[in-house]
Amino acid sequence: MLPLANIMARKVRTAISVLAVGVGVALFLVLVGLTSMLGEIARRTTCVRAHLMVWPASDQVVVSGGLPADKVEKDLESVPGVERAIPVLRWPLKMAGRVQNVYGIRPEDWRFFAAPDQMIDGRTLEGGWEMVVDSRLAGAGGYKVGQTVERWGRRFTIVGIAREGVAGRVFMPIDTVSEALQQRGRRASFFYVRVTDPAQVAAAREAIGERGLSVFTMDEFYDVLASSFVDMDLVIGSVVFVAGFVCFLVILLTVYTMVVERTREIGILKGIGASRLQIFGLVLAEAGLIAAGGIVVGFLLTWGGRTLVLHLQPLWTCEIPPVRFAYAAALAAVGTFLGALHPAMRAAKQDPVESLRYE
C-alpha cells in the first residue's frame, strides 16, 4: 500500500525511471535476439542431409573461385563408405537490398538440401538461368515464381520458393553460376559429403583428411561457426554491463532523491512504530515496484523493437530464447537491488529526531 502510494505520488519521475529500466532490459534482449542471426546462419549451413563438410585446407591456394569440382568429387567418392560428394559453389549476390550467398548446386542434389514438402511454390532447379529463393527472401524482396531478376548481366527466372530453413537463401544450378562467373570448368567452394552408414563417418573423415582437405562433421562445423562469435559474446557482455549499470544508476538516483525528499516522513514512520528493517524494506519495495514496471515495459519495448527491426530488415533474425527474458529480469532486479541498497540503508539508519526536525 505505502510503497505503491509513494511511487505514484511522483508519477512523472516514476514513469521516467520505469522507462529507463525498460530501455536497459529491451537493449539487452534485442541485442541478444539479433545475435541469433549468426546462430541461424550456422544452423542453416549445417542442416543439409549430409554427414561431413569438406573445405580447401587453410594453407591451400584456391584459384578461380574454388576447388576443381569434378576431380575432387571423384576423389571423395573413392573414399570407402562415402555415398555421395555434393559440390557447392558459393558466391555473393545482392538481392532484396542485401548481399546473399548464392548456393550453386547440381539440380539433382536438391533432395539433400530440402525435403519435398519444403518447396512451397513452383519447382526445384532443372538447369539454365534460373533460381530458387527461400520464403524469407521472397517476402523481403517481393519475389514471385515466374518473376525475372537481372544479375551478373544475365536474366534469371525464379522457378521456385522454398520454405525458410534451407541452407541458402538463393540456389542456382552450379554450372549456371560457373558460367556467369566465366570460370573455366566446374568449381566448388566446398563439398557436403554423405556416407552410406553413419557408423563410417569417423573413418571417412580420417581418410578425407589424409587427402590434404579440411573436413568437419556437421556438429564440428557448427561449433567452428559458433566459436567465431566469441567477440559477439564480448559485445553482449558489455551491453549486459551497461544495461545493468544504467539500471543501477537510475534506481540509485531515483530512490536516493525519494529518501531525501521524505526525510520527515521517515521520522514520522519511526515515530509511529516502524523498525529499521521495515523502513529498509519499504525503500526496497518502492525500488522493486519501479523495477517490476521497468521489466514489463522492457518486455513490451523488446516486442516493439523486434517487430520494428524485422519490419525494416526482414532478412534479419531476432530470436530471443525465453530464458533470456528471465536473465533480463534478473539483470534489472540485481541492478535495482544494488541501486536501492545505499538509499535504503541510509533511510533505515536515519535518526528519527533529526528527521522530524527536517524542514
Binding site: A5, R276, Q278
Partner: protein
Amino acid sequence: MDAILETRGLTKVYRTDGVATPALRGVDLAVAGGEFVSIMGPSGCGKSTLLYLAGLLATPTEGTVILAGTDAGGLSDGERTRLRRAHIGFVFQRFNLLPTLSAEENVALPLRLRRMAVGDAPREMLRAVGLEEKRRRRPNQLSVGEQQRGAIARALVTRPAVLLADEPTGNLDSEASDRVMNLVSRLHAETGQAIVLISHNEQVAARADRLVRMRDGRLTSE
C-alpha cells in the same frame, strides 16, 4: 499509583563540530498510568528533546527511561522499537500524516507496522475524532486541524498506554486548537491513557491534570 513512564537523571548533550550543547540536564519525571501531564516552557528549553527521549526515539547522553516497568537503558535499537510500539503513541506538531495515504490508510498504518489485524479500527478511530466522513481524503484535502485530529486517531488506534504529543495545537488557530484539545480531553477521559503534552499555550496546558514547567533543560516547577 505506579508510573507508566519515568525518566531518571535524563541528560542529553548534542555535539556539532566538537561543540557540546546541553539540551537536557538531569530531568526526573514520573507519569502515572492514566495521568495527563502538560510540559510548558520557552522555545529551546528542551521540551521536545524530553519527549523524544521519553518516547525512545532518541537515546540520552546520561540517565534512563523506564517505560511500563522496562528500563530502556540497555536495550538495542530493535528492542527499543518494540517497546515503543507496544506502549507509545506519538502526535507531532506539523505535517503529521503521510501525504500519499488517505486519512484512513494513515490511521491503519501503525496496525500494519505491528502486523495487527486492521479491521474496522481505523474507521472507528476516525469516527471518534469526527473524521469518518472524510476518511478517504488525503491530508492535503483536510484542514490543519483535521490533520491533527487524524494524527491523534493514528496515535491512539493501537491503544497505547502513553500518548506523547509535541505541540499538537502549535499550528492551529484558537477554534481548531479548542476542538483538538476537547478531543484529547474526551479521549483521555474515555480511554484512561496517560498523556504527556507539550505546549506553549497556557490554556492548552491547563487542561492537564498536572502542569510541569521547563527552563534551560531542567524542570523548574510542578
